[in-house]
């Protein structure tokens, strides 16, 4: 089984002054990222490899997650994830190496939200409909695939194991 974590970067500062690629997280965004990290750790469901787009807000999100998990996760940068279309994201997912069974992608909307919708074929109803309705900053979807190799990942073939958003974590759902 393969497990994919789709993590949208946490809340970022507005687009002023510097370029979009340079936008950093807000204080709120950092808090949210830590909260998500703790929630995943509490469920003992962590990726072994975390790939971010290189954009400051995605990199920072990934670093906060990795720090909270005390270095048990390898960090990588893949520039192709920045402003990636749905097709690019699927191609990058299929290109993952099979020795990594649990991989997280830290990326951007709309592509990331579309990827989550596209790959999710089954799972608990409330999670599925919430996922389809909104993929906010800091949200994480955990998808399981009953295949051995990433190139076999297909539309509708994943099972939604978990869907978390910072808002519900803050509201005390966790």
């Amino acid at each position: 089984m393969l497990r994919l974590f789709l993590i949208r970067h946490a809340k970022a500062e507005p687009h002023v002054g510097r370029g979009d690629y340079e936008r950093r997280l807000t204080g709120r965004g950092r808090d949210d990222a830590r909260r998500v990290a703790q929630a995943l750790a509490a469920r003992r469901t962590l990726p072994e490899l975390l790939i971010h787009s290189g954009a400051a807000r995605a990199k920072e999100t990934a670093e906060i997650l990795a720090a909270a998990w005390r270095g048990k996760v390898e960090l990588q940068e893949d520039r192709a994830l920045y402003e990636a279309s749905l097709a690019t994201l699927i191609e990058r997912t299929r290109a993952l190496r099979r020795e990594h069974k649990r991989v997280g992608l830290v990326g951007h909307n709309p592509g990331l939200g579309e990827l989550a919708v596209a790959l999710t074929g089954s799972g608990a109803k409330p999670g599925l409909s919430r996922l389809a309705a909104k993929y906010p900053t800091g949200a994480v979807a955990v998808l399981d695939f009953s295949v051995q190799r990433w190139e076999e990942v297909e539309s509708n073939s994943g099972k939604l194991a978990l869907y978390l958003t910072p808002a519900e974590l803050e509201a005390g759902a966790d």
Binding site: L86, I90, E91, P110, E114, A118, A132, A133, S155, N156
Partner: protein, 499 residues
């Protein structure tokens, strides 16, 4: 905000494309059909098409129309009725053996009695013939005449197939893919789009794969039309309204990314898809236009503008586009030199916003103004076509009554009806028995403002306007329910033929 709508607008290519596609052949064939029926020359017969996109209220409209005519209801704006010249109207045996009969009795029964509910939707073409006997209003004295009125009910989705007739599989695929990437549609289409990633169009044809892609594509079209989004559909029209093709292999194709630059390899998946697409055009789309659409004299297009308002600007823009595409079909039916040697076809088109009973009558003008804004581009296209066009707001069956309600020294205009079971108003859940007074609020005075806003269709709860679904009213058996402006619609559609 305009991106979603405007981009779709380019989908269909130009009118010239459609004309050159051999639409003239269609007109010619249709003309032959019409010529063989003597009635159509004597002026004693009229074929009226009733269409609209899914859930626009076609079945209810047609049922109420027939019910009112047969029961001899008072229809003040229909001149022949107001002047007491309608002797009677009766149902005739089904005129076409190949077309299902509109199940008037069944629909009327479902609208009546304690278990009354809105009838099943139009899923295929159906027709019914009525004969109206009337006294003519000629100055030299009354003379008994009759009008054979054929009412043809068909899903408006089918009209959207017209542009396909001239479109190659490659072009259609490219345009449909582009439309699916617009913000309002991208995530609805995500599963189908994802299935195309890495797909080799030149790979050997595979039935399972074709079926899987077609299923995901159909699911996308269905999802886009769902209540929450209410986006108007894209062709092929039969994917959502299959009619008698339900489950047929004729619908097992979908767009895939194929290159314009090189020919499609024979025996490939792309070749199989393209072949089925062509078969759809030849055996499904074309016969509908030739055998049914091109024989119509008049047309009413029902529009559920309120549902689109419920869903937000993206849905409204999308609806506007769909109506423009629908109008392309009417224009194609006339703008041809061949048209001049055939008998004139559709010469009156009525756009009607349905469910006007969900609003206080003071808002009806605004609803008409919104429909006028929604159809402006469609109507502009039809200018010079020679058809008279009108726009009205109506309720073929009026499920509410109006009331004034005083709260805190203020008098508010309300509508009162029985909300459908499961409807909620202000957090209160209704059981389908209790009445509720609803303040429907005011529609905007400037209809253009409805198109402004975020491009993504919103769930109903997040919208400024929220309309409640009411149950059909209780009427005495056989008696027509109250209506709003059904008589005005009839006057426009058939009034001159009852003169």
């Amino acid at each position: 905000m305009q991106t979603g709508g405007r981009r779709l607008n380019r989908l269909a290519g130009s009118w010239a494309d459609v004309f050159l596609s051999g639409f003239s052949d269609l007109l010619f064939e249709a003309g032959l059909v019409a010529r063989s029926i003597g009635d159509y020359f004597s002026g004693a017969a009229l074929r009226v098409g009733v269409t609209g996109l899914s859930r626009a209220g076609k079945t209810v409209f047609l049922t109420a129309l027939i019910n009112n005519l047969i029961a001899g209801a008072r229809l003040p704006v229909l001149a022949a009725s107001a002047e007491g010249r309608i002797v009677r109207a009766r149902l005739e045996p089904q005129p076409d053996d190949a077309v299902p009969r509109f199940d008037y009795e069944e629909h009327l029964a479902s609208l009546s009695g304690p278990d009354r509910r809105w009838p099943q939707s139009t899923r295929r073409i159906a027709e019914l013939r009525l004969t109206i006997e009337f006294e003519s209003a000629a100055a030299w004295g009354a003379r008994r005449s009759s009008l054979k009125l054929d009412l043809v009910d068909y899903p408006g989705e089918w009209l959207l197939d017209l542009p396909l007739l001239d479109k190659s599989y490659t072009t259609w695929s490219r345009e449909t893919l582009a439309a699916s990437e617009t913000p309002a549609r991208a995530h609805l289409a995500a599963k189908w789009r994802a299935a195309l990633v890495g797909l080799d169009p030149d790979a050997e044809a595979d039935e399972d794969q074709a079926r899987r892609i077609a299923e995901l594509f159909t699911a996308y079209l269905r999802h886009a039309r769902d209540d929450v989004y209410a986006l108007s559909t894209l062709p092929p029209g039969r994917f959502l309204m299959p009619g008698d093709l339900e489950g047929s292999p004729a619908l097992t194709f979908a767009p895939i990314a194929v290159s314009d630059e090189r020919p499609i390899a024979s025996g490939s998946l792309a070749a199989m898809m393209a072949r089925r697409y062509e078969a759809y055009k030849t055996h499904v789309a074309r016969p509908f236009f030739r055998d049914h659409f091109a024989r119509l004299d008049r047309q009413i297009v029902l529009v559920d503008a309120l549902s689109a308002l419920n869903s937000g600007p993206a849905a409204l823009n999308d609806l506007e586009n769909a109506l423009t595409e629908v109008m392309r079909a009417f224009r194609a039916g006339r703008a041809s030199w061949l048209g001049s040697i055939l008998r004139p076809r559709i010469d009156r088109i009525l756009f009607a916003a349905t469910k006007a009973d969900h609003l206080h009558h003071k808002s009806h003008d605004r609803l008409e103004a919104i429909l006028r804004a929604l159809t402006a581009r469609a109507i502009a296209r039809a200018e010079g076509v020679g058809a008279a066009i009108d726009v009205i707001a109506l309720a073929a069956i009026r499920a509410t009554r109006e009331a004034e309600i005083r709260t805190g020294g203020e008098t508010l205009d309300a509508i009162v009806g029985v909300p459908e079971k499961g409807e909620t108003i202000g957090g209160e859940l209704f059981d389908g028995v209790a009445e509720a007074a609803v303040f429907p609020g005011e529609l905007p005075a400037d209809p253009e403002t409805i198109f402004e806003g975020d491009a993504i269709a919103l769930p109903e709860a997040d919208n400024d306007w929220r309309f409640v679904r009411f149950r059909p009213p209780l009427t005495r058996r056989g008696e027509p329910a109250p209506q709003i402006r059904l008589d005005r619609a009839l006057q426009f559609l058939i009034g001159d033929r009852l003169a």
